[in-house]
Amino acid sequence: MFRLDAGSGVPIYRQLMAQVRQELLLGRLQPGEQLPTVKEVVDALAVNPNTVAKAYRELEHEGLVRSRQGLGTFVAASPPAATVAARPALLAALTRWVRRARAEGLQAEEMRALLAVALDEPSAASDEQASGGVA
């Protein structure tokens, strides 16, 4: 399930956490489902078990997973606050934007760069403008 990007500069445990979050958002991990055991991840990726343990611990702090002694780590019973399925409007708006950008000749990387800039912008009261721009 996990893939690591060695050269990305993002700490390994954060990559693992991001991938778990993504699986949850996409609905591929259901509440109560067991995450891969630390040993499985270590065998698959040759990554330090402490790193995996740290990722799972941080996810537990965020309330996304729960670890049961001796049994493993499981997705928390209550689903995360927002899944993609619960935001159809946003997803539709984003899909339209991507289509429009592609029509203007943008590649995926350029779109990602724009998204990064947009995410970095101070989050003052400019929500109206941002959503207006995307729509």
């Binding site: 500069g9 040759a46 330090n48």
Partner: protein, 316 residues
């Protein structure tokens, strides 16, 4: 609270009374279950450090303790794999394992034979007929089957192909999680270390330049890119006073490089950093952290003429 598995305080070594110091003022602690990577160019003192911890060299100054006692008294708890995996050429693989079995009180014969079988190495084969990678595997089996508390590995991955590397790391990690084995291993290849180690020690010219938990180190450093000529000195320098009036503390520039009209510097920060206009700040990658410290110049010692960076292999 258990003692640190490996505890070095101000440890140093020189071979003769007037000779150069192979290692100086090294303070380092490795707790149980942690994997510590020792990175540095050739001649930095990595092997000297490992030999001191393994009890092969006496500490000329300072102290080194393994599980609370001198390494010479804790030999059965230390698994040391020297660089290049030297083994007796005329002996057979099973004889090498036999030496391990007869000299080590806590020998796990099943683990040894299983591992050799899984690696496809014939026990009857003579060591001289093995490839470099196979010899490395036998040497690693020798240290793993000893069931030590501390693994000291001198460039263990050097002769292993990627599959062999993965298999060895799996065994090593299993020892860490099941038995709480502490690992200190040296490497002059930076790539792929990030996913293996918990802590990092950067060694250059016989001194520890950087040591600590990787995540904490990355949080307390920044890579700042700015115009050519900045920073003017590599000394401590006050940060730009931020607009909202809060007092920003100083930062320390570790090293700086110039390329393509820009200057990139690795800095250590005391507190929240505000970089100021014209400068980009980002958390350093693992490689930037290591290489930044290897680039560090020290006026109190003879500056290394060579580009240390070139001696440490990094991904392009």
């Amino acid at each position: 609270m258990t003692a640190q598995v490996l505890d070095c305080v101000g440890m140093g070594h020189r071979y003769s009374r007037r000779g150069p110091w192979g290692l100086r003022d090294c303070t380092l602690m490795v707790p149980a279950g942690r994997v510590v990577a020792l990175i540095g160019p050739n001649g930095a003192g990595k092997t000297t450090l490992l030999h001191l911890a393994a009890g092969l060299l006496p500490a000329t100054e300072g102290s080194v303790r393994v599980a609370g006692a001198r390494p010479a008294r804790r030999l059965e708890r230390i698994g040391f794999a020297p660089q290049g995996a030297p083994l007796w050429p005329h002996l057979r693989v099973r004889d090498v394992l036999g030496i391990g079995a007869h000299l080590n009180p806590r020998w796990d014969a099943t683990l040894a034979s299983d591992r050799i079988a899984k690696l496809g190495i014939a026990p009857r084969a003579r060591v001289s007929t093995l490839s470099g990678g196979q010899r490395a595997q036998v040497a690693l089996t020798l240290v793993l089957a000893k069931r030590p508390e501390l693994l000291l590995l001198d460039e263990p991955l050097a002769n292993l192909d990627p599959i062999a590397r993965r298999a060895f790391l799996a065994s090593m990690f299993e020892a860490c999680t099941h038995s709480g084995v502490a690992v200190l291993f040296s490497s002059h290849v930076v790539a792929e270390l990030e996913r293996i180690c918990d802590d990092l020690v950067v060694l250059a010219d016989g001194r520890v330049r950087l040591a600590g938990d990787i995540d904490r180190l990355r949080r307390t450093h920044r890579v700042i890119t700015g115009p050519v000529g900045w920073p003017t000195t590599t000394a401590t320098q006050p940060a730009t006073v931020p607009n909202d009036g809060s007092q920003a503390r100083g930062w320390q520039v570790i090293s700086a490089r110039q390329a393509a009209g820009r200057t990139t510097a690795l800095v250590r920060i005391d507190t929240h950093l505000l970089a100021g206009p014209g400068l980009d700040a980002a958390e350093p990658t693992f490689d930037e952290l290591v290489l930044g410290y290897l680039d560090q110049h020290h006026p109190d010692q003879e500056p290394s003429q060579q580009d240390l960076r070139s001696q440490v292999e990094a991904p392009a």
